[in-house]
Subunit: 503 residues, 2 copies
């Protein structure tokens, strides 16, 4: 009884933002710490009414908080749905059983379906600490997941969140495996396909380790933070939408796992496939086209790797009742010229507006993808999809549909680049032989992308281009001197990004 009382504390809020982790701050001399023997880094269970979270304990050895008080991180307040002054009960955390499955996997055992369901369900409920998720991400990395395990993971991730259902029999979707800066086809494909009368409720993600995710790009032109009902509405009205997947909690566990993958700068094939297809399935898609750019410095470096991914995508799709088609494309250099949210959005608008100097590569890739969908929908005979897509684009129907979708999502605005600019110039005459996408992406990220929407790179030196000494190879955009100078520091240590050969 008395014990029980000593476990009840009053919540105080100090506005401590610990990102995605629940942290609770308690006095080292508090009855709870004394009676339960808690020390720094213990994980504790925190109850508030019907809600309960697991939090990592940070012990306070000063007078920062008073007797009988506890402080939660902002994330903790959110997950516990509590307010300052609320009373909470703190107790020992029950052992997280599902983690023993992760441990077994470290020792070479395969995951079975039940194991992955338990793990994903526990991660979804925020029961795993960051380091436990890091261990899970690591055992799933590389080629450590077999096809069966990827299927289990995909199913478990679908079940982890809400799902969309549609009356229409045919629901289109697309995804690009990424790693290729500027490959922003979604805001072009969606209006083309929906203008053709197909349903395409597209949700996109924000950047994991890249300078911009599709959602980051679209957000510079229209709100992407839509609820499920809003998505339903937009699609009902226009046939397509361009929303952020994270906001609607389709496969929400994905965002938790991704935050750790991001910190480790790892995302593995198996997890990537489960992440992509679980979101498509949750969105109700029946047909998905996957764009896999291949290039030495793209995420996928060889055709062999791409073929293996194609096999996994199609096989997992089959297992969850989704038809998946893969388009293997050229990933040797950036698509379009912008790298970074606003700069990529400007390329997108140039294509939709059929501007003279619109990047042709982005336009061609977009109509290829859109064409595949039009053919899939059996609206056309094989091979004629591209012409139809091109016709919809060049006739201006796509642009008009794009504006209508933006209006339905909350209005359109012109994207604007960052205020600080720095030109990187050619030190000699020559022909561009190769471009290092990874280093370009790094420079764009250090310049502030995607956190500063206007930051990034405007790229002007595609492979094969003749450049003269003093020509600008690319321009770096940044909102702050600190970020700009940091990106330049890296630039000067990084060696060749654009490789020139004597003409």
């Amino acid at each position: 009884m008395e014990e029980a009382n000593s476990n009840i504390l009053r919540l105080r809020r100090l506005g401590i933002d610990t990102h995605t982790e629940n942290i609770i701050f308690m006095r080292s001399d508090s009855p709870v710490c004394r009676s339960e023997g808690f020390t720094a880094n213990t994980r504790v269970s925190v109850q508030h009414g019907a809600h309960s979270i697991i939090a990592t304990l940070n012990v306070i050895t000063s007078e920062l908080i008073e007797d009988g008080e506890a402080v939660l991180s902002e994330e903790g307040f959110k997950n516990l749905q509590a307010r300052e002054g609320d009373m909470i009960t703190v107790s020992h955390v029950q052992h997280i059983l599902s983690f023993s499955e992760v441990r077994a996997k470290m020792f070479g055992r395969k995951f079975n379906e039940a194991a992955i369901q338990r793990i994903i369900s526990d991660i979804t409920q925020n029961l795993y600490s960051k380091i436990e998720i890091a261990a899970f991400v690591t055992v799933c990395s590389g080629d450590n997941l077999g096809l069966d395990e990827v299927i289990y993971l995909t199913k478990a991730m679908i079940e982890s969140g809400s799902t969309l259902t549609w009356e229409e029999p045919l629901i289109m979707d697309k995804h690009c495996v990424g790693g290729l800066p500027g490959n922003r086809t979604t805001p072009i494909v969606v209006p083309i396909v929906s203008a053709a009368g197909l349903i395409i409720p597209k949700t996109s993600s924000r950047a994991i380790t890249s300078p911009a995710g599709t959602a980051d790009v679209i957000e510079t032109m229209t709100p992407v933070d839509l609820t499920l009902d809003q998505i339903k509405e937009v699609v009902k009205k226009e046939g397509g939408c361009m929303a952020w997947g994270g906001a609607v909690k389709l496969s929400p566990v994905d965002d938790i796992i991704i935050s750790v993958e991001k910190a480790l700068d790892v995302d593995s094939a198996g997890q990537m496939i489960a992440s992509v297809l679980s979101k498509k399935a949750a969105a109700g898609s029946t047909h998905t086209v996957i764009d896999i750019p291949v290039g030495q410095t793209a995420k996928v470096r060889s055709k062999e790797e791409a073929f293996l991914l194609e096999y996994y995508f199609r096989a997992v799709g089959l297992a969850i009742g989704m038809e998946v088609e893969v388009l293997i494309t050229d990933g040797t250099q950036p698509v379009g010229r912008g790298i970074g949210p606003a700069l990529e959005a400007m390329d997108v608008l140039a294509v939709l507006r059929n501007e003279q100097n619109a990047p042709a590569d982005l336009k061609i890739r977009s109509v290829q993808l859109a064409g595949l969908m039009l053919e899939k929908a059996d609206m056309l005979t094989k091979g004629t999809g591209v012409e139809r897509a091109l016709q919809i684009l060049e006739s201006g129907q796509a642009l008009e549909k794009f504006y209508r979708i933006c209006a339905a999502q909350g209005g359109f605005r012109e994207p604007s680049p960052a205020k600080l600019q720095h030109d990187v110039i050619a030190l000699s005459n020559g022909v561009v032989r190769a471009v290092d996408n990874r280093k370009l992406a790094k420079v764009a990220k250090l310049a502030g992308a995607p956190k500063s929407p206007g930051a990034g790179i405007y790229f002007k030196a595609p492979v094969g281009k003749q450049v003269k000494k003093g020509d600008s190879l690319f321009t770096i955009y940044s909102e702050s001197q600190g970020e700009l100078s940091y990106s330049l520091t890296y630039l000067h240590s990084a060696g060749h990004i654009v490789e020139l050969v004597a003409p």
Copy 2:
């Protein structure tokens, strides 16, 4: 210039204990966060004079700290050797290059020697975040490390800290692989061996995932927190010592890695071997005897596993110039009766004092190990070591030497068990057929061991013993009602711990 200034902040101390992690708290509206684009969970570099650390950023959105101020966790103050009011410079963290080796290992590449050296050196300098260490621990877990990688890891860990050197040609050491509650032979072996005139500068570790480490046990009788000079002195005087390894920074990186292994409740074969032998080598040992208890519920479950470990121990020993002998012993049930620091210490003293009811199994195992060392030292012909050891023990020379070593380390005190006690009784008559060490250890840990030195279990039902309904099978000791009731909750959910069969 202005940028540079805005990166300088005044340190404030709020007494936040974040265990082994450097955390820095900064205002979200601080010029640093704005100009550098820091957000929650960014890792930043913090300089103070000649010292520099990497810290995880927690953003403060409230008025908790003032403009131009930053708060460091206690660990951060320690590692930066800074005091409240000191000025620090905060900047972007340079990318930790060695982590790309961990990433490559996730994808199946082997570590080479240089890679492991860089990783261990970076971890030693606190450059790795907890989740990065978790990924490293995970890629090294199970049988993911080859012999060559274990050798590289061992060498790198030796180089990570200070080392001891001795004039004598022959330096003895021992280690038990553990997982077997109560197997506390060190405080018996050390006095026997040193009484025989051999040098044995024994350093022990604290518990990783067990209810008590040897250092925890010895600390209930004498100080173990010795400096290198104090160890030298004690050994010069008495020929042997019983110190905590962590205090003298022999292979200090081990403690950082272990804190994460502990949180994940994993310790892998390769890391275990590197951890053990690096500490022995750093302590200057030339001969080491390894005790590997084998049993269904011990850390090592099968003879095959033990043979493989023996091979690794001997081969790695060879590679670093150390002679290693392995003794594979019975691990089917606890050795002695105490489980937990003070309770195990009481067993140790009973053996040294040749008490009537001293646990025979602990006594026998101790003289076996001591005997092996006496033979290794060529003081005796093969097979006669045990008698000699027994003679030293039963003549009281060992006890006298034990007291002298304690005196040299700072004095001897009697260990005392925790105040709260609970008997777990037999529900029927029967003969003990099996004992679950893992569950026993769990109960002891939940009761407060090793944090409360007096907490744990006193075990009274060895395999083969006849018990009557109502007999006490074991007694749980705890310092707090909270811990006792939590251990009982687990006990009732855990099923059989002591298995009885009809007599």
